[in-house]
Symmetry: C2
Subunit: 639 residues, 2 copies
């Protein structure tokens, strides 16, 4: 190449200036580069709605200097001049290069030797921009599985936009799953993978669908503050020091108080996709900041909210198969039949209450609230998978050990010696009652003890054993798809086991069932709440309630709960200002997304999650701060 030509080329490159960093300029000085055939121009901005060459480019290319993305060209585009930008994904036989962006992959055909040599030296993941013409691929080279598999681009010109380092921590070319720690630390590489692309794009799409439905139905999107006052007795709230000595904001756990104030304020249909905060220390699959869809409306009731949420999710999740009418179960029945308040209804295997059988058995029945439940995995049904090995037993005992007031009995049913095996525990009459309708070879779990502990234990065993069966025998026991379930008639209060004091099962603003109001001073634990949880495939994805709107009732409830009402005087005042009856719900969107996308962790549906310890893996936050900062906020650390 002549000196003159080189100089001309260099000048032209300089004028493509916005996309050429200094390093690349230096780079192009020293390396032979194919002649730039594109006209340099003042603005590199090329694409416009009224694109003069008549190409119908999707809107993903507007406001950029590409004409197409890497996932859209096909035989209809043959002959067109195109500009593509993307990552250097793969290279073979010198002349074929695969360019990748988040929309797909396109094969480039490089015939110029100098270009081949230059690209040959570039590390994968280098960002390049090419100009070329769309060719149809030779018949034997067509890849029918790819949208762009019928074409390739004859490259006329190209540019290195940004050269990647040689030694990236992991490879994006194939789906090689790096360890999670590494994926988190280099999240910007991790989200180049198709799965993460899909997750984040689906998240955005579903959020928009949720908003569309709600706006269409006259809900108002209102942002509420995140810096607020500590909730009385609210552990788990982050605090934020201020310039007022000794005074702190707290980061809200939910917009609960604000959304109720909006109802009092006549904004009668509210929603918000809200960031909420909870400091739970190290808990797997929880995040210190999380996202919920928060909804509240006035002049409604439980049925109103249920209908709203069913229609909302049916709309937003239209591309997934879900039933329009969700199942329903009462809290009590959920515990009785599934041993949990968030039943997984994608499979049967229900608990059976066999307390009656043991009524006269003084060995077992020695508690006020004694109960016994059985859970049978049937031989006829499971055939050879119906096993109870030593290691399975141990696994189940580990589960049982977390339920102190209940005991687990595990047995492979053989009718012959069943009564013998348990002769110390059961009469033969009891044994045969227990075995009624159960086939030989079935696996039976029995839990006995304090009622709630016994059924909860068995609820856990139910999940654990099914998981074991699925993992070990490649069985598909859980039905596929999204199975929503409403859990209704929660208790209003529960007993705090440590303090022995009454506490709210949901929160102190939940309305009691009006039929149970008379129990308020007599037997508060029996009062049902106008509360509801939404469960998806065994996971709680939402919960809410009709709220108390009567200030006197609210005061009574706070008194019962021994909550200092001074801290909530503004709520009592608000209710007394003519606050309409109202109710609402919050859906946990991280969990919902993870379930919809079949991800095992919510971290996979969050762009930049914290680790399970609460650390920010890219920057290393939390970190130390300057002494001046501490001084500004009137605090000292106890190091």
């Amino acid at each position: 190449m002549s000196k003159f030509l080189k100089k001309t080329l260099f000048n032209k490159i300089l004028r493509w200036n916005l996309i050429l960093p200094a390093r690349t300029i230096e780079y192009t000085r020293s390396i032979l580069r194919p002649l730039t055939t594109m006209k340099p121009q003042k603005s590199v901005y090329l694409i416009d709605e009224s694109d003069s060459n008549g190409n119908k480019s999707p809107k993903s290319n507007k406001y950029t200097y590409r004409t197409h993305n890497c996932g859209e060209l096909n035989v209809e585009n043959v002959g067109e001049k195109v500009v593509l930008c993307g990552w250097l994904q793969y290279q073979r036989m010198n002349k074929f290069v695969v360019l990748r962006d988040s929309y797909g992959e396109t094969q480039l055909l490089i015939t110029n030797k100098a270009t081949q040599d230059l690209l040959g030296q570039m590390p994968y993941e280098t960002i390049i921009r090419i100009k070329g013409s769309v060719l149809s691929r030779p018949r034997d080279m067509i890849n029918k599985k790819q949208i762009t598999g019928e074409i390739e681009i004859q490259v006329d010109d190209f540019q290195i936009l940004n050269q990647a380092k040689d030694n990236l921590p992991f490879n994006i070319r194939e789906f090689q799953k790096a360890k999670e720690g590494l994926r988190m630390q280099y999240r910007y590489l991790d989200i180049r993978f198709p799965q993460m692309q899909k997750n984040l794009r689906t998240r955005s799409k579903i959020f928009m669908k949720l908003r569309e439905f709600l706006i269409e139905n006259h809900f108002i999107d209102v942002e509420t503050p995140t810096l607020f006052k500590a909730t009385p007795g609210g552990a788990q709230e982050f605090i934020v020091p201020t310039r007022f000595p000794g005074k702190f904001y707290s980061l809200v756990q939910s917009p609960q108080q604000f959304k109720q104030m909006l109802m009092a304020g006549a904004l009668d249909r509210y929603f918000q996709i809200a960031k909420c905060y909870r400091d739970e220390g190290s808990r797997p699959d929880r995040q210190p900041e999380f996202t919920q869809l928060d909804i509240e409306l006035s002049f409604t009731d439980v049925e109103g909210i249920i209908k709203l949420i069913e229609e909302l999710l049916f709309y937003a999740l239209a591309e997934f198969t879900i039933a329009r009418n969700f199942s329903r179960i009462s809290y009590e029945e959920a515990l009785e039949v599934y041993g949990t308040d968030k039943p997984d209804i994608t499979f049967d295997f229900k608990l059976r209450n066999c307390t009656e059988i043991f009524e006269g058995n003084s060995l077992l029945n020695n508690l006020d609230d004694f109960a016994c439940y059985s859970l049978v995995f049937d031989k006829n049904n499971l055939k050879d998978s119906c096993v109870l090995t030593k290691s399975v037993k141990e696994q189940m005992l580990r589960v049982a050990s977390q339920h102190p007031k209940a005991k687990l009995i595990q047995v492979k049913v053989t009718k012959e010696n069943f009564a013998d095996k348990f002769k110390n525990l059961l009469s033969s009459k009891e044994a045969s009652a227990l075995l009624e309708n159960i086939s030989d070879g079935s696996v039976m779990f029995l839990a006995h003890g304090s009622k709630n502990y016994a059924r909860k234990l068995l609820g856990k065993i139910r999940l654990e054993y099914v998981k074991y069966l699925e993992d070990s025998f490649k069985l598909q026991i859980r039905k596929k798809g999204l199975h929503f379930l409403w859990v209704l008639d929660f208790p209003l209060f529960e007993m705090n086991e440590e303090s022995g004091e009454l506490q709210s099962a949901h929160h102190p603003f939940t309305a009691p069932h009006p039929d149970d109001l008379a129990l308020l001073n007599q037997d508060p634990l029996k009062i049902r709440a106008l509360a509801y949880d939404l469960v998806l495939n065994g996971n709680e994805v939402g919960g809410g309630s009709i709220r108390i709107h009567d200030p006197v009732l609210q005061e009574n409830i706070l008194n019962l709960l021994k909550i200092n009402k001074d801290t909530l005087q503004h709520i009592i005042d608000m209710l007394g200002s003519g606050c309409p009856p109202h109710g609402g719900i919050a859906l946990g969107l991280d969990r919902l997304l993870a379930l919809i996308l079949n991800m095992s962790s919510i971290r996979d549906v969050i762009a930049f999650p914290k680790t399970f310890e609460g650390k920010e893996p890219i920057s290393g936050a939390p970190s130390e701060v300057l002494d001046d900062t501490l001084k500004l906020y009137h605090i000292k650390t106890n190091k």
Copy 2:
């Protein structure tokens, strides 16, 4: 009423249970109440898409137990049975009651004496629910200005849903503006006013429009964390103590680093309506938490971003009159002509650089960067309003006192004695050059001194004097409507006046103009940035830049700025991983909304703002926290 009838009535009321608090039940025991004619039913939920009576109700009533809101009934509904809920707004002649909700007002006609008496005792703002029939109003009672002004409701039945207190802190019936402190403390009352309803509903609507446009154009809505690492040298960031001793998160000032990582991660079109945090102590009209529309895209340039934002705002603000192509000005010209980098172009009155006139004047021209600017308010134009009283002069001097390195001269021009007046300062030649083309009776402001101070001083005077004219003479000098202006070619660096060190004019990730790269080591203050601000009617509503994508250039810039690059190593690594060229912008939505809605404070477009001191006025946050909480976070307060 017979005992039996009372009992039946009471039972019926009990079964309307969801909306009757205990207090109301007691209340209805003691007071005569009209016979309930509505059938009690298991669910109070009445409305459905397939409403059997064939009424076409807007979706604002779905999922509620009203059939219509208070702002929609008209003569077409005459004869229909309706259920309305709302606030008791007004009452006259016993029989007319106005019911209000956030959609409008509807007049009720009460003919039953007992009902009249009961409602007569109810405080305004009590929430009631009525059932009745739509009647046309007598011809002389029609209110054409109201949507519902042609009808009234003959009430058959009603219920007190929640009785308001007698002594609310202020009245909602008329637009009586309470003091802001009171409005903030009882925000749930304040937002019942039509203006606040409009503000919050417009906010929701515009947010949705912004999202619609961006989603339609393939931008992905991604949530980024708010708990992050402190920015190096970043004052103004709230810190959040953690369970790790001595370690803190900080609350992000913007998603800047994350959005750049998304670009590296191939999510090439990102947006988010993001909550951001900044602790500026007490500053009027700032909020510790605020909302910005954050956008970033790959493979773009300045023109790409400008076009995107113009089309976006044109779409989102379609109901307001704005020009499709926004004005543009360079940073230097903005300062030269308007004395500010956020010029208000809704009126002319431009600065004139008259430094040349004083070139030989050693009295004035005694600085290296001496300059003199004049600003004339013309007598021909302003007529009798063109005044310069003593109090005006004092007001302007107060403005001038904030600009130490410049001096202000104010003069009412009378050519006769002008030269005399300033004979100590100006030669007669200088005086006449200054007065060229200026009519007698005009008001002239002169600022001289250090160049930037002089023109900034005059920029402030320009705004102050126009405000004075408008306030004092009821003039409309500023054009109405929304006048957007792009300010371009900002400097990349500026000198920190205190430390004498180079600092970023925007932030350290802003790309230098490629034509100015050679100045990097020679004269960095002369380097232009690829940065842009969006100004609306003299207020900055957005700003952004093309970012540095070359890791070597980024390191050089950090070195120049003396920023410890260890704290940003993750950004340098990210750029080196094959990060595409990219740029973006953030729009301050609170300010934008306030301007669009013509509110004087951003507090009027935020549902629950903090006071200017940063206090949460309803709950009184920030507040003290428990010692246990401090212990959990390993901190002590210096009280």
